[in-house]
Symmetry: C3
Subunit: 260 residues, 3 copies
């Protein structure tokens, strides 16, 4: 017997009972499912942040896992609802770009638009997480095939976020900050493979140097800035035991350069 897992990622918080309502629907429809609350603390309506969080864990879970994402500023408009299968994992989410990063996986994606007839019972105007997305996730967790949930869409049909693209020319790499994490680390879009070896290069954020690329936090003293390759193989700027975001007053979108 395979244990199916459903993970939940929303911007609902937990206090109002909305997140638990989704869990309840899944528990009722697919008994025996493990429900993992990935997070309900995504900043409200921040589809970019949700997509980046999702890609950090989606493919670490085993095949068969259903990842449910409801960060949905478009609820109550005619935005579509999606279910997808990518590299053995399932995704259920609004069609608002939140799956952009998980779709970058080097694997074919099957995508369907959730069909109205698939919804059992009445659908509220305000809470599709409970009435549309959770029921679809539960059906996948129960083992129903994806194509029974709706009509197949082509990959180019769905909405993708225009992610910022890093560039490089002779001796210079240019990218930007794509996320500030809870520790104040500045996550960039500059891939590790474009970086010089530890000890070399000059990294700058918004024109301010933070020194060469380093190997690890221990390479600098506490409270010092450093640039290093983080856990998703991109350049990060950090302060050891501190916040680079606070130190540099830098936010999403700030330019990052590396002189190689």
């Amino acid at each position: 017997v395979t244990v199916r897992r459903v993970t939940l990622l929303t911007d609902f918080g937990t206090a109002d009972g909305y997140a638990a309502a989704m869990a309840g629907v899944i528990a009722a429809t697919a008994p025996g499912t493990c429900i993992d609350h990935a997070s309900h603390a995504v900043p409200q309506g921040d589809v970019l942040a949700a997509g980046l969080a999702l890609v950090r864990y989606a493919y670490l879970y085993p095949e068969g896992t259903v990842h449910l994402v409801v960060v949905d500023p478009g609820v109550g408009t005619d935005r579509r609802a999606l279910a997808a299968a990518i590299d053995g994992r399932f995704f259920v989410a609004p069609d608002n770009g939140v799956l952009t990063r998980v779709l970058q996986r080097d694997a074919p994606a099957s995508i369907v638009g959730l069909a109205d007839p698939a919804f059992e019972g009445p659908v509220s105007a305000t809470f599709h997480g409970r009435d549309i997305f959770a029921p679809a996730a539960a059906r996948l967790a129960r083992g129903e095939p994806l194509d029974r949930l709706g009509e197949t869409l082509t990959d180019t049909d769905i909405i993708r976020l225009p992610l910022p693209v890093p560039s490089r020319s002779a001796g210079r790499v240019r990218g930007e900050i794509v996320q500030v994490d809870r520790f104040g680390n500045l996550i960039t879009n500059i891939p590790a493979m474009w970086l010089p070896a530890p000890g070399a290069g000059i990294v700058a954020v918004g024109g301010s140097s933070v020194g060469p690329v380093r190997r690890t936090y221990g390479d600098v003293e506490r409270g010092e800035l450093l640039a290093l390759v983080g856990s998703i193989d991109v350049l990060e700027i950090s302060v050891r035991d501190g916040s680079a975001a606070a130190r540099l007053e830098a936010d999403r979108g700030a330019e990052v350069t590396v002189e190689v």
Copy 2:
């Protein structure tokens, strides 16, 4: 084999380990139980908010689920501890009114006062969640019958919160805001069935008009106020992609009227 689930709702936060202590007791007493943390972020001591969150998810969970609620400003006084069975779900909570809304279910309720002899081991003065409520929830999750946990109480014996009652007279419905959710939506106590059709009526909060009843967020532009039927079939006032609570500076208790 039925998987039993226990949900937890408290105002403990998680950082101190109190919530995990309750989960540990349940895991030790009823191994194999799925423990779902509904929320530990209820505002401190806010029995009204806890009761409203609870009713949002309690009956979406399958029969046999045990819902444990510990928002308990009366710990250390002589308030009673309750366990109840309503429509196939179990509830364990202090007798402080937090079950008022789930008791409104159109189904008979069996209620017991948790008996002292039921407590195994010493009971602390400050943490009945761990020492009284979690053990009782675990016994129900293990399949013990309700009436073994204590003496049967009549429904009228227990404490109920005086929930505000909406009213209607010729052409006018009057109610109030009963909750502000995380998105700044203002949840009222006015039932959907009293409302005119979308497009009709004039809704006002504290005397300020927010226009007619609408069908969905997409009926107004981003940043605009609207009134619509929310996910628990009552009137809500919202700002599309914004906070009605901030816009109207309205809070629990504010008057809401609908000219039909």
Copy 3:
């Protein structure tokens, strides 16, 4: 069949997806494991707070539970990674003192330093929670014996926090505040067994009297200060339905005395 449980305690928050990444690794490596998020809200880098939270729940969980703790300001330095078995429970954590309190259990401890060869796949410089600690926890959850995870260490080999020690002389007990919890309760290091009976003694915080030792919150009026024995058998100072931390402006380290 035994259900294995892994609990997670970190200072990661949830919004960035780091906590879910650890859960994903465990789900992939040890399918069928129940994953309990104890907390991801430990104050950043606060090893003392994490250790105190951990001891509140660790031994309430059944034998065989794996407790994973990643509050790890030393990531990226040469601090060791540990796994331990104490009184039937397993612990996986950095060697930074976070296990000090659970090691005070009156039971022998087996401890290993996680061996490099034990790590499958590449290890990032910044996220040992995902790359080292979660895989080790998952292997224990899968039933692998502790000594396969690394080389045995002696108990005196590992780092312990210098916990403040209370003292007593004729008629006077002296200790300090070791934690302020979410409710503003001031948790001290003064053991219950050193206290006079309820109604006797004079307790003072930073020189200000808070009256005699009480039995329970109900012994004072709402809003009043009191001292009582809390849920881990030490003296606590509280305000009934309020915050003693706010009232007394007291924090970790403040002196607490009891005139017996």
